[in-house]
């Protein structure tokens, strides 16, 4: 019962958020240049342009246009891309796997490196290796992601020639999903973009895990766990780390969304054929329907991940189980 209440509440919140996002997304279209300039050539006269505007409904009042947009949007139609002459959603869906795989690659890197490093730094705060990691993470936070990306390309692709510098490489079909995970070439192409995308979040997570865990290690229940004579690994990785996870999950949920935004930079440096790269192209071409569709899709991903994070939080922290009841 509590769970149902919780689910309904979250769903209503999600609808509200999506409404706001769609309104913001839609309202920028008037200020984003003239789609007709991109659509037709120089030879078309001003009268013909005006007639086309009428036909496309671009001269209608804002609310009429927004109502028409929403009416179609709820049916899954976010308009046709001016450039691709195809439904915008379809264009984005074709690029979505590439971006998702990049985010998954970066997330895995963060989990496999930030967790052990953060825990290590919390356990040995005075060791030279911890100090080195802390100093290095400051550098990581400060260097912008496109610089990291260019540096990685220069060292590993240009100088050493170990890694490809652009594109996704070979992809194969995985249950209708255009995936680069199954081929060696695809995985090799994923390495550098994932590292540069992870570079911006990794230091943040290392520092977050370290500081939260250091605080937890001072708690009475950790002292009691030592007093019970448990092996250190159990005290650190079960007793302390499970409590450390709570704030990390909260921050992590938001950061996954931020990481999606950073894919725009990473993808454009690596010519990665994903949503972010597509978005940049759409902005250049003033492909308004595509821009709006991108904003809405990213907003949806944000809402979905945050709901998922809340559910995960309930699962890790038993004291918030009844959050759905009033």
């Amino acid at each position: 019962m509590d769970y149902l209440y919780f689910a309904i509440k979250r769903l209503l919140q999600a609808v509200l958020v999506m409404l706001v996002i769609s309104l913001i997304g839609f309202s920028i279209q008037d200020n984003l240049g003239d789609p007709l300039r991109e659509l037709v050539g120089q030879s078309v006269s001003e009268n013909e342009r005006e007639a086309m505007r009428d036909r496309m409904g671009l001269n209608d009042p804002f609310l009429t246009q927004y109502g028409r947009f929403m009416y179609k949007a709820v049916q899954g139609d976010l308009g046709n891309s001016y450039f691709f002459k195809k439904p915008a959603l379809e264009v984005i869906a074709a690029k979505f796997p590439a971006t998702l795989e990049l985010v998954i690659g970066a997330t895995l890197l963060i989990i496999f490196f930030a967790v052990p490093l953060g825990v290590y730094c919390a356990i040995n705060p005075k060791g030279w290796f911890s100090k080195f990691i802390m100093a290095f993470s400051i550098v990581g936070i400060s260097v912008p992601v496109f610089l990291t990306a260019i540096f990685l390309i220069y060292v590993f692709a240009v100088e050493l020639g170990w890694m490809p510098s652009f594109g996704r490489g070979d992809t194969s079909d995985l249950l209708g999903w255009n995936s680069g995970f199954l081929t060696v070439d695809g995985l090799v192409h994923l390495v550098l973009p994932s590292i540069s995308l992870a570079s911006i979040m990794m230091p943040l997570f290392i520092r977050l895990i370290r500081s939260e865990m250091m605080e937890i290690l001072e708690m009475d229940y950790i002292k009691f766990a030592w007093a019970k004579g448990l092996v250190p690994v159990r005290v650190w990785f079960l007793h302390a780390f499970k409590n450390t996870l709570l704030p990390v999950i909260t921050v992590g949920g938001v950061q996954v969304g931020t990481m999606l935004a950073y894919t725009i930079l990473t993808e454009s440096v690596f010519q990665w054929p994903g949503m972010g790269f597509l978005f940049l192209e759409a902005v250049n071409r003033v492909d308004t329907p595509l821009i709006i569709a991108y904003i809405i899709v990213v907003g949806l991903i944000f809402v979905v991940t945050n709901t998922f994070v809340d559910l995960l939080y309930t699962w890790v922290n038993p004291t918030v189980k009844l959050v759905g009841s009033r």
Partner: protein, 330 residues
């Protein structure tokens, strides 16, 4: 041979350039099944003494001198892995605040069975059965269901019962209890204390009870150690110390009890307060608060003197008038 023999134990906290001494060489012993109480105001070093037995001092505290001899072995010199087999197995601890002692994200069952499994080669099911029986010993209703509960689903008193059950899991020979009832409701305090007394007496478990509550100590323990500013100032059989305290500090503590004062009258306080670790006066550290202090008290550090069953560290022990009790504690 005593079960536990603490000899000239010194504990210090190095803080940057200066080092603060929390224990100035304390010695005491505990026989098998004996129950002793360590009393004193906040800052007297009681908890430090308790934690140093299991070498569980908060950083940067460390044992700088002395020995903790348990079963003929100096356990203060053991490394972490050797110490692990003593902690929670031969000597267990009960902490002050049951709200903070249990891990909020793990079930009671997990927190109990893990302790057994850390010290014995037994199956999950056996560990569960032992845990349930110990929960029953501390009078927790329907212990089978409680095994799957999380700490926040239990009241403070229930949680302290769980902590006591955990302390008893491995049938230790000593339990060190650091103010086990201070954080509890007054009505629950007596219940928990009675339970601990019963369990320790029935299982022949030695108890080191750290508290500032003289009334509790007088009911539960056989011997009392009074601490002041990192030193033992008086030690003796509970009855002797309560009825005939020798040290002016112990007298002050007893005089300050509400039971010792007539209704409506102002409570007798000990004037002043416990000195900070970096401001302990020369000579007898109690001298600024003592009615009997003279010049000599500012120079000499008094040693424990008197018959073995009742010693006190005061150079004027013979000059101080006899103690007049109103009999509140007896």
């Amino acid at each position: 041979m005593a079960l536990l023999d603490v000899k000239d134990l010194e504990v210090e906290f190095p803080l940057g350039r200066k080092t603060l001494k929390a224990l100035h060489g304390i010695s005491f012993s505990l026989n098998k099944g004996e129950r002793i109480g360590i009393v004193g105001e906040s800052g007297a070093g009681k908890s430090v003494a308790a934690f140093s037995i299991l070498n569980l001092l908060s950083k940067p505290g460390r044992i700088s001198a002395g020995e903790v001899i348990f079963e003929n072995q100096d356990i203060s010199k053991l490394n972490r892995d050797q110490m692990r087999h003593i902690r929670g197995n031969r000597i267990s601890m009960i902490f002050q605040d049951p709200m903070m002692t249990l891990n909020p994200v793990l079930t009671i069952g997990t927190q109990m069975t893990e302790c057994l499994k850390a010290h014995r080669a037994i199956s999950k099911e056996e560990a569960r059965q032992i845990s349930i029986s110990k929960l029953r010993d501390v009078m927790i209703p329907s212990p089978e269901n409680r095994m799957d509960s999380y700490p926040h689903e239990l009241s403070g008193g229930m949680r302290q019962r769980v902590v006591i059950a955990i302390a008893l899991l491995t049938d230790p020979s000593i339990i060190v209890a650091d103010e086990p009832t201070t954080a509890l409701d007054v009505t629950i305090q007596a219940e928990i204390m009675a339970l601990m007394l019963e369990l320790c007496a029935n299982n022949n478990v030695g108890l080191i009870l750290i508290t500032h509550d003289l009334a509790v100590v007088s009911q539960v323990t056989e011997r009392i150690i009074v601490m002041y500013a990192g030193r033992i100032v008086e030690e003796g059989q509970t009855q002797d110390v309560i009825t005939n305290p020798k040290h002016p500090y112990t007298r002050g503590l007893i005089k300050a009890l509400p039971q010792e004062n007539s209704p409506g009258a102002r409570l007798n306080q000990i004037r002043g307060s416990m000195p900070a670790l970096d401001a302990i006066p020369a000579g007898c550290s109690f001298n600024p608060r003592c009615d009997f202090a003279d010049e000599q008290c500012h120079k000499d550090i008094p040693q424990l003197t008197g018959p073995k069953t009742h010693t006190a560290a005061c150079i004027h022990i013979d000059r101080i008038p006899a103690f007049q009790s109103t009999g509140g504690l007896t």
